[in-house]
């Protein structure tokens, strides 16, 4: 069975589960590839436009491929008052991309989130699922370098 068949089957081909289906597609491919959305549309007999309206409404979905590492900066209130905007600006400068973008070498995608519910550790930067709390502008450089080094491995 193809990957997509399996995902749809897990959700009993239910159209009401489209958001969860897209989440699984994204977990599998790291974004929502166009051809996969087309096949979801055919198999669920659901207009492609409806699927796109959902995929663009919810911030968790990405329609473009992401880089190897996903760097997410929390811009929630607690992180904001403890200096998140400076941290984000520094990361944008260091990576040479704006929020939402992917570096030319496809190493990093930079995104923001509104609160991870770990505000006690503010400001927080998450890289590939690992939380880095109490980040500062001058810690950012070293942090990103650590992931860059892993390039070869």
């Amino acid at each position: 069975m193809s990957k997509i068949e399996k995902i749809l089957k897990d959700h009993h081909y239910k159209r009401s589960r489209i958001i969860q289906i897209l989440q699984h597609v994204q977990a599998e491919y790291k974004y929502l590839p166009k051809d996969i959305l087309e096949s979801v549309s055919q198999k669920l007999k659901m207009p492609l436009s409806t699927i796109y309206s959902i995929a663009t409404f919810y911030a968790a979905f990405s329609l473009t491929p992401r880089g190897k590492h996903l760097c997410t900066v929390c811009m929630g209130t607690a992180c904001h008052v403890r200096g998140a905007p400076d941290v984000l600006a520094r990361i944008e400068e260091k990576l040479g991309v704006e929020t939402g973008g992917t570096t030319d070498d496809k190493q990093f995608t930079l995104e923001t989130v509104n609160c991870l519910g770990a505000c006690a550790l503010a400001p927080i930067v998450v890289i590939d699922g690992t939380y880095h709390g109490q980040t500062t502008v001058n810690k950012v450089g070293g942090l990103l370098d650590k992931y860059h080094e892993k390039k070869g491995t």
């Binding site: 911030a59 600006a89 006690a120």
Partner: protein, 609 residues
């Protein structure tokens, strides 16, 4: 089961494994403790146990030694051998790893003597740090699911509703609607098929009590929903959890499976004719989906846009059927009310707000974490007695409550008793319970701009007043923060703010102006400083500040110049350094690397021309 085994040990080490502590490396500490205990031959006397969130998240990793309740915080791996030898082997608690409220005060050994814990009143968080959320037997060991049994076998549905009404419980998701009344509306709504929903979207940035409850005590939420379902006559429930909380989803799924295995979910629960099942649905990163009608649309697999009410969900909810939706914390209160009675519950709190509320105390505060307090406690008690005041000797300026719908409350109102009415009177609201503390270094205009940016981005776009009004306000606030605003802008903001409030469809738009209106009300002079003097008193707004080096204290150590990413700093070793303002991007690295003994790099406002 675990309880019996626990008795066999002389001491228990409780290692907090909540999200905060785990991110701070609590599992590394746990491993190190276990290894060291074996090394020192204590494994038959001492057990190491992981617990759910203790609430004092910033102090992680946290270890509590029972039965004495000795509290250790910010433990490092290197500290472990010393801790094991001194305390566990020789019986001498280690002062240097204990909590110290301030440099002038002595260390406090016992958890219950620490201000952060002492003033709390735990109802929803009653199992805090005491049970393993992945083991239903532990919950049952604390009389879990006995309220369900009572509700199923000794109470009729109208009696359950009567009890909840009499308790005075109000919704903890924001608006504070009386829970029992809501249940009754849904119960009496015509229709055979009814639904129950638990709102775990927790969109307010800075609030994380729902995450903590779902992760630490999922069964209390499930039990609450079961009781509600019985009262209302529903057979299917949904728990909607935001996608940013994967651990909460995992713990919930484990808890649901165990409850099914124990016959607490499914057909003929506890041998009665009552049947009920629960599904977990994950959100996908849209703040507006916390609004009830948008949330229901999202469960149905649609774009989450709110719709006008009435009809309320109690009449027409999921798939057009009567639906009762409550917040996580609301549900978690229900089993306790059924167990201990409405009279007991309503003896806590104020005249119109009963029971407790969990707040997340974050921002510029010494003791960051989750606190559960009786309604009616004052803001000052929360910030000073529990929160330990503001770090680094700075001045308290304001506290923001209610998330993007709330407002900023100034120091003049520190004596304000915290309940639904008190917060609304101050121009803010309860919201889900985030309390973001701000000090003299927080710019109130920037905070207002932050929230308006937030609501503008999260507006679903359906109604023009919200879509366009928030955008207008962001434009004006940007102008003011950049120093190009005029004095008329304040009146303009107030006018737009009031129209958006009146003309918007859902709570998002109706409350979006609160952060602006309250900051203008309480901090007008800060707006005026930005407008008239092009000065940001808190030294936050980038366009209005400059970084400079104080020639009096610069010793020419060259650290700032070496670290400046824009090569904007010049100066030789042992000579005074200067910043080229045309090259400076105001990233702030020079300030953060300048050695504290010199403190030569400073921020100044208005900006140097």
């Amino acid at each position: 089961m675990r309880k019996k085994a626990r008795k066999d040990f002389r001491l228990h080490l409780l290692v907090c494994a909540g999200t905060g502590c785990a991110a701070n490396g609590s599992f590394i500490i746990k491993d190190a403790l276990e290894k060291e205990i074996v090394k020192q031959g204590l494994e038959d006397e001492i057990a190491v146990i992981t617990t759910d969130c203790q609430g004092f998240c910033e102090r992680g990793p946290i270890v509590i030694v029972q039965p004495d309740g000795i509290f250790y915080h910010r433990i490092k791996k290197e500290d472990v051998p010393h801790l094991v030898e001194e305390h566990l082997f020789k019986g001498r608690p280690v002062k240097s790893m204990m909590f110290v409220p301030s440099p002038e005060e002595p260390a406090i050994p016992r958890l219950m003597d620490i201000g952060f814990f002492k003033h709390q009143r735990l109802i929803v968080l009653r199992h805090r740090g005491r049970l393993d959320p992945e083991n239903i037997e532990e919950y049952i060991g604390f009389e879990g699911y006995s309220s369900l049994e009572k509700a199923l076998t000794r109470m009729t549905p109208p009696e359950i509703i009567k009890e909840i009404k009499a308790s005075g419980l109000r919704g903890r998701g924001g608006a504070g609607f009386p829970t029992g009344v809501k249940w009754e509306l849904c119960r009496t709504s015509p229709g055979k098929k009814k639904y129950i929903v638990c709102n775990g979207d927790e969109g307010d940035p800075g609030a994380f009590m729902d995450r903590s409850v779902l992760e630490s005590d999922p069964h209390t939420v499930i039990e609450g929903m079961l009781i509600g379902a019985r009262a209302i006559g529903a057979h299917k429930g949904y728990i909607y959890v935001r996608s940013e909380y994967p651990l909460a989803v995992k713990k919930l799924l484990i808890a649901l499976r165990q409850a099914e295995e124990y016959g607490l979910l499914g057909e003929n629960i506890l041998g009665t004719n009552f049947s009920f099942t629960i599904d977990v649905v994950q959100g996908a990163g849209a703040f507006v989906c916390g609004e009830e009608t948008a949330l229901l649309a999202s469960i149905e697999g649609k774009v989450g846009r709110p719709r006008p009410r009435p009809p309320y969900p109690a009449e027409k909810g999921l798939w057009g059927r009567p639906t009762n939706i409550n917040n996580v914390e609301t549900w978690a209160n229900v089993p306790v009310i059924i167990a201990r009675g409405a009279l007991w519950f309503s003896s806590i709190g104020t005249k119109r707000s009963k029971g407790t509320k969990i707040f997340s105390l974050v921002g510029k505060i010494n003791n960051t974490g989750l606190v559960e307090v009786p309604m009616g406690i004052t803001l000052g008690q929360i910030i000073y007695d529990i929160g330990g005041g503001i770090p680094d000797g700075k001045e308290f300026k304001a506290v923001q409550t209610g998330g993007p719908s709330g407002g900023c409350i100034p120091r003049e109102l520190l004596d304000l008793p915290i309940d639904y009415e008190g917060l609304s009177k101050a121009g803010s609201m309860m919201g889900s319970g985030g309390m973001i503390v701000m000090d003299e270094d927080t710019c109130m205009v920037d905070v207002a701009r932050y929230f308006l940016n937030f609501t503008q981005e999260e507006s679903c776009g359906k109604c023009p007043s919200c879509r366009l009004g928030t955008k207008q306000m962001v434009h004006i606030l940007n102008r003011i923060c950049e120093g190009t605003g005029g004095e008329h802008d304040i009146a303009f903001l107030e006018e737009v703010g009031r129209s958006v409030k009146l003309a918007s469809l859902c709570g998002l738009g109706q409350t979006a102006s609160n952060p602006v209106l309250t900051t203008i009300k309480y901090f007008r002079e800060e707006y005026l400083a930005h407008i008239r003097e092009k000065r940001c008193p808190a030294l936050v707004c980038k366009s209005l500040i400059s970084y400079i080096i104080d020639p009096q204290t610069c010793s020419g150590c060259t650290v700032c110049a070496k670290n400046c990413p824009s090569a904007a700093i010049s100066g030789e070793a042992k000579k005074i350094h200067t910043i080229d303002q045309t090259k400076c991007t105001k990233c702030g690295i020079c300030l953060s690397v300048c050695p504290p003994k010199f403190k030569a790099v400073k921020k100044t406002s208005p900006a140097v021309q």
